[in-house]
């Protein structure tokens, strides 16, 4: 009985552990299967670099470059916001904050991470956009800049808590050795701690990017949704995610439009996959450097 029980439980946990793998494979198969008809019917190159997205026109046009560009632009903008704030927060918590401040700051940042993205979207659309529009005298507040700003704030928790982890992995002996050699605190921070934690912090930034590029609801509500290459950062854009979210509900199943949306999903998946692989490689190197094994 006991050994049967043991084996059963082991089986259950093995199944649970491998279920994510099953989901992943299922999703990948679906993405490829559903986007294959699109790439068979339309040229890959002209689709990816095409400038006109008119999926319901006659004949339809499926130029995805404006969408890909929008995702990249908005993500880059978000990084400009969240990298300094995120890493700065991590450094403050790790280096300067006393126990009391830390016990306030860390939960607060975690709450920021827990706010649903639709709430960020609402906030951006109803408060930030009209405010920026008034302040800067621009035609509309729903644009790439506002989207970057809101996305950047959303990605702060990812960057700051992972950076903080990276900093705390640096062995105490590194710092003590540096200080013992007569280095100042600033020298220790910039010459010893940061380089040691460097690849861990890079991982944090890459995962932050991954979060920003895949975010949907916020950009759907805040980015404006115009499928053009923006002439300035204050022009509206239409990222890949919001295109899929806005159009999937009404694209007739099996139509070229439907398959085109899956093709966008596939491209998006490739981008985040690349980010995650890079992050994994970098963090592995980081652990090796600190002598933590793999």
């Amino acid at each position: 009985m006991n050994s049967l029980k043991e084996r059963l439980i082991k089986l259950v946990f093995t199944l649970l552990a491998f279920s994510s793998l099953v989901f992943l494979i299922g999703i990948i198969i679906t993405l490829f299967k559903e986007s294959y008809p699109f790439f068979r019917q339309f040229d890959v190159f002209t689709s990816i670099f095409g400038l006109y997205w008119y999926p319901t026109a006659e004949p339809p046009e499926f130029g995805m470059f404006t969408l890909i560009f929008a995702s990249i632009a908005v993500t880059a903008g978000a990084m400009i916001v969240c990298v300094p704030i995120g890493i700065g927060t991590a450094l403050y918590i790790h280096e300067i904050a006393d126990h009391k401040q830390r016990s306030v700051l860390k939960p607060v940042i975690e709450i920021l991470a827990g706010i649903p993205s639709i709430v960020y979207g609402f906030f951006g659309m109803l408060i930030v956009a009209p405010f920026l529009q008034e302040l800067l005298g621009i035609p509309t507040g729903l644009n790439a800049f506002t989207a970057s700003l809101v996305l950047g704030v959303m990605a702060i928790p990812t960057v700051s808590s992972l950076s903080e982890d990276a900093l705390s992995f640096v062995p105490r002996s590194f710092r003590e050795a540096s200080l013992a050699l007569g280095a100042t605190r600033w020298q220790t921070l910039t010459k010893v701690i940061l380089p040691a934690a460097g690849s861990g912090i890079s991982t944090a930034v890459i995962l932050g990017m991954s979060r920003a590029v895949g975010e949907t609801m916020t950009v759907l509500m805040v980015a404006g949704g115009a499928a053009v290459i923006p002439k300035s950062i204050f022009d509206p854009v239409r990222p890949m995610t919001s295109t899929i979210a806005a159009e999937m509900g009404e694209a007739a199943m099996g139509s070229p439009h439907y398959h085109a949306l899956f093709a966008i999903g596939l491209i998006l998946f490739m981008i985040t996959l690349a980010f995650n692989i890079i992050a994994e490689i970098v963090s592995r190197r980081f652990r090796l450097k600190l002598g933590l094994g793999r």
């Binding site: 026109a57 109803l126 529009q133 507040g141 509500m221 949704g225 115009a226 806005a246 009404e250 694209a251």
Partner: protein, 273 residues
């Protein structure tokens, strides 16, 4: 281990019991489709359920195409639509043994709205088309205070967009730099906060925060929409599988009744005579 299986068994049995209890409570009518028709379906369904406790109505949005697809798939009983059903859809339905039946329930006017601070007083259909296709980009070209026109549109898959495309654009493409908002309310609220904006919404979504402008000298009112004198107007439909019968017929009759018409008007649409 025995206890573990017992718990699973008990849970399964109780779930079956609970679910069968829910289904036994009465018949359920599922309505799906156009977000434009949604407020009509919602308010009439609520009143109808109050009057007929045995009948349960579930109302969902999703858009005209989703509604019609669901009707064809048999996953809804009534499909709301802000456009007439397409020939392909009727054929697809026939193949699945669904005999689509059309019921006109109300009229909707698509209203052109601008920010209240905008001085513009009238617009022609040609001007609307020029603005939305990209030939006109500044308000000074319409004789209003100079400034960039912020063009607001809906997703190409929205029913309101499809109607606008047909009624106002003669199927020409909307300019690529138009801002895309996800709903009638979003368009109205953006126009309300953006001085240079122009947008279009269903007559039911006119708010005090936006200004509607007459098209070709005719203001969108109930009379002009119903008579078809206002050019940007269209009928709204509910589709059923075959002639409605039983509870579905009861509900449709209610929507078309005097009481139903009152609710249609309360939502800002124009009820049929």
């Amino acid at each position: 281990m025995k206890g573990f299986f017992k718990i699973i068994l008990l849970t399964a049995i109780s779930m079956i019991l609970i679910s069968s209890g829910v289904f036994a409570a009465g018949t359920t009518i599922t309505i799906k489709g156009s977000t434009t028709v949604l407020p009509i379906a919602q308010s009439t369904a609520e009143a109808f359920m109050d009057a007929n406790p045995g009948i349960n109505i579930s109302v969902q949005g999703g858009g005209s195409s989703v509604g019609i697809t669901s009707l064809i798939d048999g996953t809804c009983d009534i499909a709301d639509s802000s456009r007439q059903i397409k020939k392909e859809e009727i054929e697809k339905a026939k193949k699945k043994g669904v005999n689509v039946n059309e019921i006109k329930i109300a009229m909707d006017g698509i209203v052109i709205i601008v920010n209240p601070r905008n001085s513009i007083k009238a617009i022609t259909r040609q001007q609307i088309k020029d603005i939305y296709t990209g030939k006109i980009s500044d308000w000074s070209e319409l004789g209003a205070k100079p400034g960039k026109i912020v063009v607001l549109s809906r997703d190409t898959s929205s029913g309101t967009y499809e109607a606008f495309e047909v009624l106002a654009l003669n199927k020409e493409k909307v300019r690529a730099d138009a801002l895309i908002n996800a709903s009638n309310q979003a368009i109205a609220s953006t126009v309300g906060t953006t001085p240079g904006a122009i947008g279009y919404v269903g007559h039911g979504y006119l708010t005090k925060k936006v200004k509607d402008i007459p098209v070709e000298g005719i203001k969108a009112t109930k009379q002009t929409i119903l008579s078809g004198k206002y050019s940007l107007s269209r009928p709204l439909f509910m589709y059923t599988n075959g002639k409605p019968a039983g509870d579905i017929k009861k509900f449709i009759d209610f929507v078309l009744s005097k009481e139903g018409k009152k609710m249609v008007e309360e939502e800002g649409f124009v009820g049929l005579k």
